[in-house]
């Protein structure tokens, strides 16, 4: 019953006149920017963050969440029509979605993606409403040592579930932690690693980092390749799949939703892993696996449902523990702090309207995505047919104004440019940047909890093993690390991400 009451409160907030308008604007803007090739949800959210500054916190977060879903869906549209994934989680959608488009079934692919996402979104909204409160209650019992161990577990899990080399991912996390330490040390008041620059005393914001690495770096990368795009603009009709398509898609959508919801909760999981695993699963259990990669409708339905489900359930660790599980959530924490909200277990009791309003707005946002995208698809297609040489200067100017406006600092623009170069180097050296962003956000939190824990225990590191919660979490982290090093699992892990190549 409490669940219904809570959801009722949520819907009364989410459906309030202005909030529903901001949700709509968020979804619209998110899709608009997300459709642009080579710009994923992270860069989109960072770019549009300043547009929410004038709003009250509840509306701002509702709008940001809307931007996130919109960007995610926009990325799928680009993947299907242009074979250019705006973000990693749409990589698998490219495989079959683009083939469907080549066969003149672009409309169907887009329709299935939208409906599958909507279904997955509805289920995972319920999941958040059901599981977040008990989890938050547990989290309230956490002490500094437990928090530290939880973050260690989260970071390890993020590495295990990310793709690419394990040890490089760990190094990227540590690099992120270090960059996160730039600025004034809270305990001693000393400005660290600011190289004498007064602009760095407050630390490096998440905006410049996210925008630089995930936005600018990506643009430079795209410029390397001369344009070879084939866009299917003619046959985007018949968006609604027919009954036989729907029947064919129900099981994959269900499986994708289940898998995605589960993986989204895990730290580091998020949309990417959900989409990859769902695709691999479909291919494994299909009667005729050879259809995959040649325009199998299940190959669009399952990963699209999974990535949307995961995108939403990844809000659970953010809203209950205050710990981001992927780069987008890391950015959301940054956004919440800018709006004066400290994410964590206390949100639910201290600001129930914000928490439940946001949960309810997720469902509203998903509904809007469907309603919005069915008629507007023609507009996205037109946008996509613009050549990249015209698109990227436009993306750049939005990004620059976005970065500047986050704290009205010209230094942030220069920092973002530096991060853009870093992102390009990472790409050249096969270093996945997502763990860096997680480490960057968790760095200061980890240091603070570590110092507090050791202060309480008078320097005895045993405190991490004597507190039961902390010990369990650390043992879990260790087990996870050992497991993933085991040859058999290592092979499986590599297999799960093999579609990318």
């Amino acid at each position: 019953m409490e669940l219904l009451n809570n959801l009722g409160l949520g819907f009364s907030v989410a459906l309030a006149g202005t909030n529903i308008l901001y949700c709509f604007i968020g979804v619209l803007l998110g899709t608009l920017i997300g459709v642009l090739p080579g710009i994923g949800p992270v860069a989109t959210i960072a770019m549009l963050l300043p547009t929410t500054f004038v709003l009250p916190p509840v509306s701002a977060l509702i709008m940001l969440a809307g931007i996130y879903y919109g960007a995610q869906y926009g990325g799928s549209t680009t993947a299907i029509l242009v074979n250019l994934p705006g973000e990693v989680s749409s990589v698998v959608t490219c495989l079959d979605g683009y083939q469907m488009a080549r066969q003149g079934k672009a409309g169907k692919a887009l329709g299935v993606a939208a409906l599958g996402s909507f279904f997955a979104g509805s289920v995972s909204t319920l999941l958040i409403a059901a599981f977040a409160p008990p989890l938050a209650e547990v989290a309230l019992k956490f002490g500094p040592a437990d928090y530290f161990s939880l973050m260690v577990l989260g970071l390890i899990a993020a590495v295990v579930l990310a793709h690419g080399s394990l040890i490089k991912a760990i190094a990227m996390i540590i690099l992120g932690l270090l960059i996160g330490l730039v600025g004034t040390d809270v305990n001693s008041g000393v400005a660290r690693f600011n190289f004498g620059l007064p602009e760095l005393i407050d630390g490096i914001g998440i905006g410049p980092i996210a925008m630089g690495i995930f936005g600018f770096g990506e643009i430079i990368r795209n410029l390397e390749h001369t344009e070879k795009r084939e866009i299917f603009t003619k046959n985007v009709s018949g968006l609604l799949p027919n009954w036989s398509d729907i029947k064919q898609c129900i099981p994959p959508v269900l499986r994708g939703t289940a898998l995605g919801s589960f993986l989204g909760i895990l730290p580091g999981g998020g949309a990417v892993l959900g989409a990859f695993s769902a695709y691999t699963l479909e291919k494994k259990i299909a009667k005729d696996p050879s259809r995959f990669g040649k325009g199998a409708i299940e190959g669009v339905a399952a990963p699209e449902s999974a990535n949307n489900a995961a995108a939403q359930t990844s809000f659970i660790p953010l809203l209950t523990l205050g710990i981001p599980s992927n780069p987008v959530m890391a950015l959301m924490i940054g956004a919440m702090i800018i709006h004066g909200i400290q994410p964590g277990p206390q949100i639910m009791t201290a600001k129930p309207d914000l928490f439940w309003g946001m949960v309810a707005s997720m469902w509203v946002g998903n509904l809007m995505l469907v309603i919005l995208n069915l008629p507007l698809i023609g507009m996205w297609v037109k946008l996509l047919s613009l050549p990249y040489r015209l698109l990227y200067p436009a993306i750049l100017i939005f990004c620059c104004i976005g970065v500047y406006s986050i704290s009205n600092a010209w230094m942030d623009v220069l920092l973002a440019a530096a991060c853009g170069f870093m992102g390009y180097v990472f790409y050249k050296l096969d270093c996945e940047p997502s763990p860096l962003l997680l480490g960057f956000v968790l760095g200061p939190m980890m240091e603070e909890n570590l110092r507090r824990a050791l202060l309480l225990s008078r320097g005895d590191p045993g405190v991490f093993m004597t507190r039961p919660i902390s010990a369990t979490l650390l043992v879990l982290a260790l087990l996870l690390l050992i497991l993933v090093m085991a040859p058999a699992i290592r092979k499986k892990r590599e297999e799960a991400f093999v579609e990318e190549d």
Binding site: V54, I174, L175, F193, L396, I397, I401, Y404, M411, V413
Partner: protein, 164 residues
């Protein structure tokens, strides 16, 4: 040297981590107080992390020498798009408060467009002007974000549209 490194991408990534790790650990050690585990000084956490990063970098580099980890070469580094895109962003950042967003924005679009292999001055000029006015309309006149629009000259600051 070339024959020794079996996985150049990993090798150079390792070197990068070593350099950055040593830099952080070194600066921490040289400029801030270390403290003890019970009362950590500002240098403690970064020193440990920097050392760990350098160590991991070393392991990555060493592993890249093994035949088992062989991998592709580092792809060619394209300096031109880096220069034009990042350069124009920096210029935007530096000139924003002096020239105002209207001028700096057009400059940003024009110069960044040079990073593409096909550049048409007239197109980009039009695009730049259009985009800048659009941004001014949305971000400044619409949302009221405090972005300076006009050059920082007294006479221009009196114009109403230049102010927020």
């Amino acid at each position: 040297m070339k024959a020794l490194i079996k996985n150049p991408r990993d090798f150079w990534a390792g070197i990068m981590f070593i350099v950055i790790g040593c830099l952080f650990a070194g600066v921490a050690l040289a400029s801030y107080k270390m403290g003890t585990a019970a009362r950590m000084g500002p240098a403690y956490f970064p020193f440990v992390l920097g050392g760990l990063l350098a160590l991991l970098g070393l392991v990555i580099s060493l592993l890249s020498l093994s035949k088992k980890n062989a991998g592709p070469a580092v792809e060619k580094f394209h300096w031109a798009p880096n220069f034009w895109v990042l350069g124009s962003i920096c210029l935007f950042g530096v000139t924003l408060k002096i020239f105002g967003a209207l001028l700096s924005g057009v400059l940003l679009v024009l110069l960044s467009a040079l990073g593409s292999s096909e550049f048409k001055l007239r197109d980009m000029l039009l695009l730049g002007i259009g985009l800048t006015i659009f941004c001014a309309a949305v971000f400044v006149w619409g949302l009221g974000l405090p972005i300076p629009l006009c050059p920082n000259i007294d006479a221009l600051q009196q114009v109403k549209l230049c102010r927020i």
